[in-house]
Symmetry: C2
Subunit: 369 residues, 2 copies
């Protein structure tokens, strides 16, 4: 594929300034700044990134010799995804005399995108944000859809807003500096997209697994483009997550509980991998699937180096407790997204999340130790 890569237009119904382009390529990062200045000539750019990205040289690649006001989140990662980081960003912007004509450029993984996107949503009642995701998770997932959020001192994602980006630039070459465990775990959101929406895409993963593990640029571009198409398709149908968008939660209900129970020792993607296996067990128990389907999913996750069993030190009781406090829980017990077939989420009576008894969930969890 050419360096100028692919371009996709996302339109969110009912949202003002609702169309935004996603540009995908490899080795394209150095050209992005020029394009930003050309596309938004009347806006004053402000970059939000993190210390890891600076260390990897990506900030330098983006802005080149230009002196651009920048906020570097330090330390990088979840620990900084806090409302006080957003307060610090806004106050820095004010000290740089930036106003309503600012545009925030978010360079980094999901955490940077969440923090910078939320800062953009609430700075002076909202300024545009450009997302430049640099991890497998962020490129697959968090840069499209407009969900932003940060933690309070009490809980995760207590603060947030729906804020669609003005544009998304994906350079898959930024993935080469990502550590291998993060890289592989980040691909699980893509496997999830395939499982719920696109059987052919699932086959693409199976066929190209070696190229994927070797970070083949052409294959990664194709993955990025397919992810964005699937995510955009779902988000366009349900921009504020009233119903159908819940299918993106496949594998996440049990996945979140396992991630939290591990004290975040397990990565998000690793936990979702376990959650997808658990969902597969539920589908079998409910008579929705044969053995073959779960086997294909399990085989792919194993090749990607994912855990497929719950670590012994995480008790079933702990997971059940956490499921009861799930943020999407209705009547204190969550509903579960399930597959109709590989490549299609199950919809019954217009609902995309389904009741499953606690008893059945417990029996499926028992099989995962």
């Amino acid at each position: 594929m050419a360096q100028d890569g692919q371009r996709l237009d996302v339109v969110i119904p009912g949202v003002e300034a609702s169309s935004y382009p996603i540009t995908i390529g490899h080795g394209t990062l150095s050209g992005v700044w020029g394009e930003i200045l050309q596309t938004w000539p009347k806006h004053n750019p402000f970059v939000v990134t993190d210390s890891e990205l600076v260390k990897a040289g990506h900030l330098q690649t983006l802005v080149g010799a230009e002196k651009v006001p920048t906020f570097t989140i330090d330390p990088a990662g979840e620990v900084s995804k806090h409302i006080q980081t957003v307060v610090a960003i806004v106050e820095r912007m004010e000290k740089e005399c930036l106003g309503r004509d600012s545009i925030i450029v978010a360079l980094g993984g999901g955490t940077v995108g969440d923090i910078a996107g939320f800062a953009a949503a609430i700075f002076k009642r909202g300024v545009p944000v450009i997302q430049i995701p640099t991890t497998t998770v962020a490129q697959a997932d968090s840069s499209v859809g407009g969900k932003t959020g940060v933690d309070s001192s009490v809980s995760k994602n207590a603060f947030g807003a729906f804020w669609q980006p003005a544009a998304v630039y994906i350079d898959v070459a930024t993935l080469t500096t990502l550590d291998d465990r993060q890289y592989r775990a980040g691909l699980i959101e893509s496997v999830k997209h395939a499982a719920i929406m696109d059987a052919e895409y699932f086959g693409f993963f199976e066929t190209n697994i070696d190229a994927i593990l070797n970070k083949d640029m052409a294959v990664l571009e194709q993955i990025a483009a397919t992810n964005c198409r699937i995510k955009a398709d779902v988000v366009q149908q349900d921009p504020t997550e009233k119903n159908m968008r819940r299918i993106l939660n496949y594998g996440h209900t049990i996945g979140h509980a396992v991630e939290s129970a591990s004290g975040f020792e397990l990565l998000h993607g690793e936990s979702v991998a376990i959650g997808m296996i658990a969902a597969g067990k539920l589908e079998k128990a409910l008579g929705l699937a044969d053995d073959d389907r779960l086997e294909r999913i399990t085989n792919l996750l194993v090749k990607l180096g994912m855990p497929i069993r719950i670590p012994a030190d995480i008790t079933k009781e702990k997971i059940i407790d956490l499921l009861r406090t799930d943020k999407k829980a209705v009547g204190k017990w969550p509903r579960f997204v399930l597959l109709e077939s590989l490549g299609a989420a199950l919809c019954r009576d217009g609902q995309w999340a389904h009741e499953v008894s606690q008893d059945m969930v417990e029996r499926c969890l028992d099989e995962l130790y």
Copy 2:
């Protein structure tokens, strides 16, 4: 007018869940809670109010014997309109185990409405807010339109969002506990509405000035209803303030500068009164108005006890300096909203804010000492 009062429906184009009712009456506050519980039976209410409202007995009137989780802003007023108050509200809601099915009920003046509205906009990516404005300013202005915002440690309204209320309940009887200076200054937003949009309404003010100063309930209800109709009309035409909504800024450009230069010794309405006189001088200087128009405006403002001259200790230079840093300034010198006639803002070439030279502004300011 009957206790069940008047009802107005506001529809904001392009905004989801965009229609909301405004109910106006006197002595109606004690019935509002029952209506909230009936209209939003699946939501968990959380009240945000301030210590002055509690002292005046309005919180008690609203919730009666019910035990409702409440955040009381203390001290009341602008000093608490800070991002850290919003953080405290959100963390209190989390500690009360409130989630996405919360509804925030804002009982108070403009500051309470701004703080609570912004908290609603960003709690868990947004929950509904019900506005119960209790001051002349808030009833005329800040409860309709969806503008919310709080200050940072660097500047005013650094944080904010457009967040339309789910409903607005106005009980004009709450105005009887307001101190007289606040009451009168708060009416200036209503005079502004009349000046920019409704000549007949301006006449109503002139005719009923004694009843207004005596807080006649029927007249106050009529003022509240007319304000909401005018404000809703403007907001519906331009929900995110791209153009026409700027007319609501009439008198505010110079008004804000005077208010700020006084160190907030002058109330907002008092400053806007001076700003309206200044706008009238500009209109005369530009050949847009005869003497009679400014005289009528001046007479009404005087009867309402407003200052019509700039206090001697506020220098013209200070005002000019502040105008340069106006948040709406384009190219470092703001544009001004002007009147075409009493009851109609001036629109030229599709623009509602107009270029006026610094020289002319200075000459008009000179006349105001």
